[in-house]
Subunit: 105 residues, 2 copies
């Protein structure tokens, strides 16, 4: 499995309603990208100053599944039309999640 984590910091042009619209657009992607195994979009609640506004934690079978998502036209369209115009900063990572630790109760 491959986990993809991305955080997006948006500029002052993105108000709360716009952040929610971007989140809703992203949340529809599992309907059109077959390689998505798990997909969680988070809208920051404002608990800490300087936070990113949006996060995506996604799971794929492998690097090919991630690439299918990354390059999918529906995903690229959201980035180009909705995210890039208000994007102030972005960080991402992809990694193989470790298996859950055995617990000995």
């Amino acid at each position: 499995m491959l986990r993809h984590v991305v955080l997006l910091r948006l500029d002052d042009g993105a108000d709360a309603a716009m952040v929610e619209r971007i989140a809703d657009a992203l949340r529809a992607l599992p309907d059109s990208v077959p390689s998505i195994r798990d997909y969680c979009v988070g809208v920051d609640q404002g608990l800490a100053e300087g936070n990113a506004q949006l996060s995506v934690v996604a799971l794929f079978d492998d690097e090919a599944g991630y690439a299918e998502y990354r390059d999918h036209p529906d995903h690229v369209a959201i980035i180009d039309r909705h995210i890039r115009p208000v994007l102030a900063g972005r960080m991402a990572t992809q990694y193989s999640p470790e298996p859950p630790r055995a617990t000995f109760a």
Copy 2:
């Protein structure tokens, strides 16, 4: 529930061995921070240029649980001793994860 997602970009002073040591130190935190419900540390695999090197996706019952983790001495010690000296950038977010979508097969 409250999910905390953080990405860390480290500077050139942090080689792969140091990144793994930081990850291992973080992975021990569920043993000492009772409020952690789920905790996943990721070390970037280098699939994309400019990626962050480390990520943490953590789950807590509520904001108080997150605050207990954020301020826990073992966590603060890892940040102060191991992360801050090599930290080039950080993004974070906290949000209530949406419940899984109902599926109608």
